[in-house]
């Protein structure tokens, strides 16, 4: 067992025992849901169903119901896609990258962050599918034998790389998440009293028994999956950025896109984790497990990735001038001073200025301030994608073809609808699934729990110092 410096802030506050952890996490699942849950779920469901309605209308009528035109052929659809994929980066980063770096604070947040990731990637995946117009032929993106036509899919195309990247990311993320959930479902199964929930959780727990050999395998599988998921996190958003970077559109044709997009994705993902976690810890009484220290760590990640994003913006701007390519230079002058100047400056303010405030310790430890900044960052990151996509193409090489993009109400409905659906999934998760990785939190109780840390003569400290 690892020893931890006494001066380091404990990760689990209060005098918790193993049983207390089980109680704290299982209580919200076993008790009746509070009224606010039903209200929030109702609102999210209505918004989500409205989005489904908009999608069905789009599928029945055609992609023309979006506000796209000949010049702006990509707008909100791909903006929302990249925004959701970006949000979906925090969960795997927290559970995989931080596992490899042995960051114990991840254990309190990885389960719900991964759930958020999976639901966000669901939402992201919707956009390319409905952009096909004919959703039912979505499987044509797979390399299927040729009775469907004379060609294979084009393996030279970044759009096809995206198909592989997103589906691998989603399915591996799902497996990683579920393997961690199995032992916790077993805990709920063994506590369940009502026959229906006992039956349900028995099925979900796959007959987990907690044998020593099972745990031995569990730990190795978690480690190897983390090792596999780590390059995956970085590859997914790199590949998403190739969709733009491999084109020859001024403003897109940039080699810094992959690292810049990955940093932006982690930035927006952590912001979304903060938004959700700050509400969840309060609503579900998990203040002892997710507290100021966790929020502060996440704010530091937001600060670092936000600074990378800011540096990338400025580099991009500098290179557009330094390259001497007038089209490239115009793309950036047009972003900052053209008709979409407000979007550009909204992006700059939200993404470059706001994370810098996290240098101040009282601010990054303030929960209210964090909550506000997390929403500001999410808005800013949506504008970043909108600026990159729409302002780069709305004024192309021929001024006669210049155009503006105005979203239709279907654009808006589909976007808002995905937010609704996302919350439907997340609220269901918070109601029926263990939102804290029970088995993992229990392993750090003795090394990072407040009651154990403050007892220097505890038997864990002397008999295990040799490990």
């Amino acid at each position: 067992m690892h020893k931890e410096a006494a001066i380091r802030e404990p990760l689990i506050l209060g005098h918790k025992t193993y049983h207390d952890i089980t109680e704290d996490v299982c209580r919200p699942i076993e008790d009746k849901a509070p009224k606010t849950w039903y209200i929030l779920f109702g609102i999210a469901l209505v918004i989500g169903l409205y989005g489904v309605g908009c999608i069905l209308y789009l599928l029945g009528t055609g992609v023309g119901v979006w506000g796209l035109n000949k010049t702006v052929g990509w707008a909100w659809d791909i903006t929302n896609f990249v925004w959701w994929v970006g949000i979906g980066h925090a969960g795997t980063l927290i559970s995989a990258v931080l596992l490899l770096f042995r960051q114990k604070w991840r254990m309190a947040i990885n389960r719900s962050a991964e759930a958020m990731t999976i639901f966000a990637v669901f939402m992201a995946g919707l956009f390319p599918l409905i952009h096909m117009g004919r959703l039912w032929v979505g499987y044509w993106t797979l390399p299927l034998p040729n009775q469907f036509g004379s060609l294979w899919v084009n393996f030279n195309s970044p759009l096809l790389w995206d198909v592989f990247a997103i589906s691998t990311y989603l399915s591996v993320g799902l497996v990683f998440w579920y393997i961690g959930l199995i032992p916790d479902f077993a805990t709920i199964r063994d506590r369940a009293k009502k026959p229906v929930s006992k039956k349900m959780y028995s099925i979900l727990a796959f007959g987990w028994s907690g044998r020593a050999k099972q745990w031995n395998r569990f730990e190795l599988v978690s480690l190897v999956l983390a090792g596999l998921a780590t390059p995956l996190v970085f590859s997914v958003h790199s590949i998403v950025s190739f969709d733009f970077a491999t084109s020859v559109i001024p403003g897109w044709h940039t080699t810094i896109f992959p690292p810049y997009f990955v940093a932006g994705a982690v930035f927006s993902g952590f912001a979304m984790v903060q938004t959700l976690m700050l509400v969840m810890r309060k609503a579900m009484g998990l203040e002892a497990y997710i507290h100021t220290r966790h929020v502060e760590y996440m704010n530091i990640v937001i600060m670092v990735t936000g600074s990378i994003v800011g540096t990338a913006y400025i580099t991009e701007l500098f290179i557009s001038w330094y390259s001497g390519v007038e089209y490239e230079a115009y793309a950036f002058i047009n972003r900052a001073t053209g008709p979409y100047w407000w979007a550009y400056w909204a992006m700059m303010t939200c993404n470059v200025v706001s994370p810098q405030l996290m240098w101040f310790r009282p601010l990054r430890r303030s929960l209210l301030f964090t909550f506000i900044i997390s929403i500001v960052v999410n808005i800013g990151m949506w504008f970043e994608r909108y600026v990159i996509i729409v302002t780069s193409i709305h004024r192309d090489y021929l001024p006669s073809a210049w155009s503006m993009h105005y979203p239709s109400h279907i654009d808006l409905g589909v976007y808002i609808g995905t937010i609704g659906l996302f919350f439907v999934f997340f609220l269901l998760f918070a109601r029926y699934f263990p939102v804290l990785a029970l088995n993992e939190v229990k392993t750090i109780l003795k090394s990072s729990g407040e009651s154990y840390k403050n007892a220097p003569d505890n038997h864990t400290n002397d008999s295990h110092s040799n490990h």
């Binding site: 591996v172 805990t187 028995s202 020593a212 190795l220």
Partner: protein, 178 residues
């Protein structure tokens, strides 16, 4: 043949581990430990070998790499070579760079899913299988050590129980398994 099994329950992982060390030193064979979370360092004490799933993950990953390489070579080079802007897909090596992302993704896909499926099968954890932990509290905060009489012919049940009681157990249970 009916078999007598002794279940000794502890309420602390470190007490169980120390107890296991003492029992093993006396020559007792501990056949299983049930716990709510992984007890680090218990495996060598009770003689559990490290899992070889990592090797399997590597093999699955390698399968993915090979499949992706052969697949893309077939699709893009031999079956239907494309001629884009007068630059035909001549050989695999000429086009290899464009195939790197999918080769990587497919490697990860095969390694992760292959390992996950093997893990579930080896653990005998699949949807609908019954739980086998002797006490429901072992998934909450209790730790149970399982000792089988047939594996400990040197001792009888009473001797084992006396030895167990010295290790700080909180409950002792004896069952006849068929």
């Amino acid at each position: 043949m009916a078999e007598t099994v002794i279940y000794a329950m502890y309420d602390d992982d470190d007490v169980l581990k120390d107890g296991a060390k003492k029992l093993v030193a006396k020559g007792v064979k501990i056949s299983e430990v049930f716990s709510p979370f992984p007890i680090h360092g218990i495996d060598p004490i009770i003689g559990i070998k490290n899992t070889r799933l990592g090797i399997m993950a590597f093999i699955y990953g390698l399968t993915g790499t090979v499949l992706a390489t052969y697949g893309m070579r077939f699709f893009m080079i031999s079956d239907w070579p494309m001629n884009i802007g007068g630059k035909p897909n001549g050989s695999y090596l000429d086009n290899m760079l464009a195939f790197v992302p999918i080769t990587f993704e497919f490697t990860v896909l095969c390694a992760a899913h292959g390992m996950a499926i093997t893990y579930l099968l080896r653990n005998k954890t699949l949807p609908g299988l019954p739980a086998q932990n002797p006490d429901p509290r072992t998934t909450d905060d209790k730790f149970v050590m399982e000792i089988r009489l047939s594996e400990n012919t040197k001792f009888d049940a009473a001797e084992l129980e006396t030895m167990l009681k010295e290790t700080g157990i909180i409950e002792l249970d004896q069952k006849e398994l068929k």
